[in-house]
């Protein structure tokens, strides 16, 4: 459902991704690990369509069509979701208001009927339970003054609400305590289904104890240099990346 072929991405004239290949099929969870500066976050940003991430070569097919010519919101509306490593704070924008606006924009794009305030409240309450958020979050300003854990929960809440076809989680575990990590993982696992794909970008094996991947890839210097099953994450935890990156360089 998501096919990335030979993706080259340049940021501020500096090549970051240098021929990345990845195929995510429905129901699969792919973990991407790798040293700092390998291009992990660039992958998420480039897929989401962020300004300044220039695709110089390669293609990204999502459900059979290229997404590279789509706007940021069209990519999102088509079912691609990026959970941010650092969700921005938007003071003045009410969380519930934002969530409903985003949900309705997606429904509208699909030609479906939009939800009214009552329907939305019913929908969101169920989802909030899953990530352990109480209803006070809805009346707060979007991510404003949220703790690191609250911001990540809010990201997962959005994912639960939007039910994307493919979700990319960019270091969603960073800055989380164990309780929050479990809560976030619970939300992700709730969404796992034979129709949905996940790309989990992380530095630590710990997250993968909770969100068990089908594949683990090592991203280094803009390419996937090694792939394996979930045991690769444990091996990396033990040995680091040196044995792979040196091999790639050699």
């Amino acid at each position: 459902m998501l096919t990335i072929n030979n993706l080259h991405v340049t940021v501020a004239d500096k090549p970051i991704l240098k021929g990345l290949n990845l195929e995510v099929k429905p129901g699969e969870v792919h973990a991407i690990m790798g040293p700092n500066g390998a291009g992990k976050s660039t992958l998420g940003n480039a897929l989401a369509g962020r300004e300044g991430y220039e695709i110089t070569d390669g293609e990204v097919l999502f459900n059979g069509g290229s997404i590279l010519d789509l706007s940021i919101e069209e990519r999102a509306q088509s079912g691609l979701f990026l959970a941010f490593q650092y969700p921005v704070e938007i003071p003045g924008v009410n969380n519930a208001y934002f969530l409903r606006a985003a949900l309705n924009a997606r429904l509208k794009a699909k030609g479906l009927e939009e939800v009214d305030a009552m329907q939305f409240m019913q929908l969101i309450k169920e989802k909030m339970k899953l990530v352990g958020m109480d209803k006070r979050f809805l009346s707060r300003e979007l991510n404003h003054g949220f703790s690191g854990g609250e911001k990540k929960r809010n990201e997962v809440l959005q994912m639960l609400l939007f039910e994307p076809a493919v979700a990319i989680l960019d270091e969603t575990d960073s800055g989380l305590d164990i309780d929050a990590l479990q809560m976030v993982s619970k939300g992700v696992n709730h969404l796992r289904s034979p129709e949905r794909g996940f790309v989990v970008i992380t530095h630590y094996q710990r997250l993968l104890n909770y969100i068990v991947p089908d594949f683990v890839h090592v991203l280094s210097d803009g390419k996937i240099i090694h792939s394996g099953d979930k045991t690769l994450a444990l091996e990396l935890e033990e040995k680091g990346y040196g044995w792979l990156t040196e091999g790639a360089a050699g």
């Binding site: 989401a48 369509g49 962020r50 300004e51 706007s71 940021i72 919101e73 990519r75 999102a76 509306q77 990026l82 941010f84 969700p87 921005v88 938007i90 003071p91 003045g92 924008v93 208001y97 934002f98 409903r100 606006a101 985003a102 309705n104 924009a105 997606r106 794009a109 959005q158 939007f162």
Partner: protein
């Protein structure tokens, strides 16, 4: 010169003659005047052959309504009686046309005219020279006007007019009144509208003055608001600028006795070649006086904005607090904002603060919203609304708060 042409056709009274001569002591403001640095009024006035207002009124004329208010419609220099509605005014409230007030109270009227210094307020002086019509509202002690008075200025017709209105709000002790002014134009010719509202607030009086200036490529609006506040009086003003071809806000507030306060708020959303110049002065003439100025603006395309507000804390006063804030977002590279909140302090015991910002919509935030599926234009409107909403926070609970915010046109339905 067009201003002189208009003068030739007016009926001169000794008072108008005096104002006319006082005006010509300095003449039309040019950009060489510090207070008119960004607004070339002289060139503008000389470029158009204005005539005196036609005095034609139209019974079928329409304008966006203000919910539940007394209404006075001033059209092309005349009071439009058909569209005005004053039925039900409480006892203790007198609302009458300016012409009638001048006729009955020539000395009082002269007193109000002389309260404004011609050297600093040329357009107010020109207003005194020309004004034949306007609204005078007088509220007796302890009386509260039960709903706002909406004064609507309408210009229409085939000629470029210079239309002048002078309003007086005379609030006796502990009275309360809300005055909402709106300016609309239906003419395709340049319309120079020079309005002046003078407000006297006696002890404990509360007066709220709202000015809504509509978006119009032919409207040139000089808005004057002068107030004189006694003990425990409170003046609250809100100026909404939606993008007239030229807008000039001249506000001068005198806090003359302890515990007098004034809150000057405003918001503007300008596009095209709209030009809006705010010039605000607050005189803390007595101890224990308080002022608060907060304006926010959005400027798009080739719009140009100016914000110059100064709080002057006079010598010998103490325990004064004054705040001056102006925040702006530029939505296009070609838009321009010049902002200068100032404090001039001649005493020690003060609490003063001022600040100004000019920024852009945050790209990170826009990306975040778009990445959730929110279309670009909706994401921008959400941020614009959020930005401007802060300016409305202090008037949300007022009878005009929601109405004003809706006029902005940045809101969206989810």
């Amino acid at each position: 010169m067009s201003v002189e042409n208009v003068w030739e056709t007016r009926f001169p009274t000794p008072l108008r003659e005096a104002a006319w001569h006082a005006f010509w002591q300095k003449g039309l403001p040019t950009r060489r005047w510090e207070d008119w640095k960004y607004t070339d009024l002289s060139r503008l006035l000389n470029a158009t052959d204005y005539v005196a207002p036609t005095r034609l009124t139209n019974e079928n004329m329409t304008f966006p309504p203000f919910p539940d208010a007394y209404v006075m419609v001033l059209e092309n220099g005349m009071l439009n009686m058909t569209l005005s509605q004053l039925v039900g005014l409480p006892i203790g409230v007198i609302c009458q046309p300016l012409a009638k007030f001048i006729e009955q109270n020539p000395t009082r009227y002269q007193h109000y005219c002389e309260a404004i210094d011609p050297a600093h307020h040329p357009m107010a002086t020109l207003n005194h020279a020309f004004a034949e019509q306007g609204v005078v509202i007088e509220i007796a002690q302890d009386v509260m006007l039960n709903k706002p008075l909406h004064v609507v200025y309408v210009t229409s017709g085939e000629s470029a007019q210079l239309t002048t209105y002078h309003n007086l709000v005379l609030a006796h002790p502990k009275s309360h009144v809300v005055l909402v002014e709106s300016a609309y134009n239906t003419s395709a010719q340049p319309q120079l509208l020079n309005t002046l509202t003078q407000v006297t607030l006696e002890q404990g009086a509360k007066v709220e003055v709202v000015m809504q200036q509509s978006q119009d490529d032919h409207l040139q609006h000089i808005h004057g608001l002068h107030s004189y506040g006694q003990e425990y009086s409170c003046l609250r003003s809100f100026h909404l600028g939606l993008g007239a071809a030229l807008g000039r806000v001249n506000q001068h507030f005198h806090l003359q006795a302890p515990e007098a306060c004034c809150h000057a708020y405003g918001a503007f959303h300008l596009a095209g070649k709209a030009h809006l110049d705010h010039h605000i002065r607050i005189e803390h003439e007595a101890s224990h006086t308080h002022s608060d100025v907060h304006f926010r603006g959005l400027l798009d395309q080739k719009a140009k904005g100016v914000f110059n507000s100064k709080a002057i804390v006079h010598a010998g006063t103490k325990a004064v607090d004054a705040k001056q804030y102006n925040h702006n977002l530029l939505l296009a590279k070609t838009a321009e904002m010049n902002t200068k909140p100032e404090l001039e302090i001649y005493t020690d015991d003060v609490q003063c603060a001022h600040g100004a910002t000019v920024g852009q919509l945050d790209k990170e935030v826009l990306f975040y919203l778009q990445s959730r599926g929110v279309p670009m234009d909706l994401a921008q409107r959400m941020l614009m609304e959020t930005f401007l909403a802060h300016a409305f926070d202090p008037v949300r609970d007022r009878p005009y708060g929601d109405w004003l915010f809706q006029q902005l046109g940045v809101q969206h339905d989810v």
